[in-house]
């Protein structure tokens, strides 16, 4: 289910972005968001969380 996977990835990305921004500033925030969202999407895909 793509919608649910996208929403969960967005939430994980937001949390990772907040963490990255706290540690490394605005660029850290952007990178954290992208890395967190991609990691969450990959894990959900690999573990078949929402299949």
């Amino acid at each position: 289910m793509r919608l649910l996977k996208a929403l969960v990835s967005f939430i994980v990305g937001t949390v990772a972005g907040a963490l990255g921004s706290k540690l490394f500033g605005p660029f850290g925030g952007v990178l954290g968001f992208i890395a967190g969202a991609l990691a969450a999407w990959w894990v959900a895909q690999r573990m078949a969380f929402f299949d």
């Binding site: 289910m1 649910l4 929403l7 969960v8 939430i11 969380f49 929402f50 299949d51």
Partner: protein, 190 residues
């Protein structure tokens, strides 16, 4: 630590907790952990009271029950964001009203003008966004937005022409409202 930071960390903690509950439920469901072992039974006892209500509602809405954990995380995050926004709005409003009350009648009038502007601005945005989803003045939920803003949008619509399929009158109404607010506020501050 300010109160807002405490609230934010509480919401973050709840989202993480929801994710852990969803994961716990998932490992038992997918037989990664035996549901009849000590760990499996403990996980079910902890996660079922939280996940089952979401699952029931999801099934009633025609969804897949195995997605209950994911939706639990999403619902917790959305509810947390709404709660934080409302808390922030309450604190800001309280501070503004307090400052206005201690600033005399001029400050009170300025506050009334500012509040009226904000309400009309939100009503205009609701009107525009609702129109994108095919909800107009005869929708029960959208009608108040039309009642609040018709007095300014309708005269503007008679002046501003349609550009293709786009109606720019709400945008022009927003600009007019903003100008009106500025004029009234600067007249009050003299």
């Amino acid at each position: 630590m300010p109160q807002t930071a405490i609230l934010r960390y509480t919401v973050l903690g709840l989202v993480v907790l929801a994710a852990l509950v969803a994961f716990g439920s998932w490992v038992v469901r997918r037989r990664r952990v035996s549901p009849f072992g000590v760990l499996g039974r403990a996980l079910r006892a902890i996660t079922d009271p939280v996940v089952k209500p979401v699952e029931r509602r999801l099934v009633r809405m025609g969804g897949n029950p195995t997605h209950a954990g994911g939706w639990l995380v999403v619902i917790t995050a959305v509810a947390g964001i709404v709660f934080l926004s409302l808390a922030g709005w309450f604190v800001t409003t309280f501070q503004t009203v307090y400052a206005a009350a201690s600033g005399g009648p001029r400050a009170t009038f300025a506050l009334i003008i500012d509040l009226a502007y904000r309400i009309l601005f939100v009503a205009l945005i609701v009107r525009v966004v609702a129109a994108w989803f095919g909800m107009f003045r005869y929708s029960r939920w959208i009608r108040p937005a039309y009642i609040l803003t018709d007095w300014i949008v309708e005269p503007v619509r008679r002046i501003v022409p349609l550009v293709g399929a786009f109606d720019f009158s709400p945008v022009v109404a927003m600009i007019v409202l903003s100008l009106l607010r500025q004029i009234l506020l600067s007249a009050l501050s003299r």
